[in-house]
């Protein structure tokens, strides 16, 4: 079974430029998560999808961040424009359901550096 796939693995951009990250979850997983992980910190939830619906985006900075999961499968997270403070690892995870203690499976992450 393939795991959660993320691309690109690394991205270096200049501030004020746009950037997009892509995630393909494990087949059959209805729930998809995007997390932000700063250096030396644990992951912080940005947005959670149940199928194609964003059910928790309270921590997503909506002035510059956007996300979509149009067909309830893969997802894209976008930042426009990027700021220096956005440098971090962006993790995608999926699970069968957001209910209960269903295990989250994490992708390897995209490491973003904003210069």
């Amino acid at each position: 079974e393939a795991g959660v796939v993320q691309s690109p693995r690394y991205k270096i951009i200049e501030k004020k430029q746009p950037v997009a990250f892509w995630c393909n979850p494990i087949s059959g997983h209805n729930t998809l998560y995007w997390y932000l992980q700063n250096l030396g910190q644990g992951p912080e939830l940005l947005i959670r999808y149940e199928n194609e619906e964003a059910v928790d985006d309270s921590q997503l900075p909506k002035d510059r961040f956007s996300a979509e999961r149009l067909k309830g499968v893969d997802s894209t997270l976008k930042i426009q424009p990027a700021e220096l403070g956005d440098s971090a690892v962006y993790l995608c995870a999926s699970s069968r359901s957001g209910q209960g203690a269903n295990e989250q499976f994490f992708g390897p992450g995209t490491r973003l550096t904003v210069l």
Binding site: Q41, G42, E44, G100, A101
Partner: protein, 113 residues
């Protein structure tokens, strides 16, 4: 709201020695508790989880954790570590059926020969 505190940011340990990673949480409701491991340049991988029942939970790679409700703790242990256990370990809590995961800041374990 819930919170998670990992009491040690870094734990150095010699190979074949035991290790304990401490995790305390706060929540006004019952919780699910988890430990994840993150190897360099990889995503997080589940080690074990506590849902209910026996307070001693066994996970992969020889790890185990004990849930202590009165002390609101969920400490992770391994009786004998290997070099390959060098990684970052995260404690996480999920407060209700549809709640979100709250992760601790992580504990870096460095195993030396």
């Amino acid at each position: 709201a819930q919170s998670v505190t990992q009491l040690d940011s870094q734990v150095p340990v010699f190979e074949e020695a035991p290790v304990e990673l401490r995790c305390n949480y706060s929540s006004s409701v019952s919780v699910y508790l988890f430990w994840y491991v993150q190897y360099p340049n990889q995503g997080l991988q589940l080690l074990l989880k506590y849902l209910s029942g026996s307070t001693l939970v066994k996970g992969i790679n020889g790890f185990e954790a004990e849930f202590n409700k009165s002390q609101t703790s969920f400490h992770l242990r391994k009786p004998s570590v290997h070099i390959s256990d060098t990684a970052e370990y995260f404690c996480a809590v999920k407060a209700d059926s549809w709640g979100k995961f709250q992760f601790g800041a992580g504990t870096q374990v460095v195993v030396t020969p």
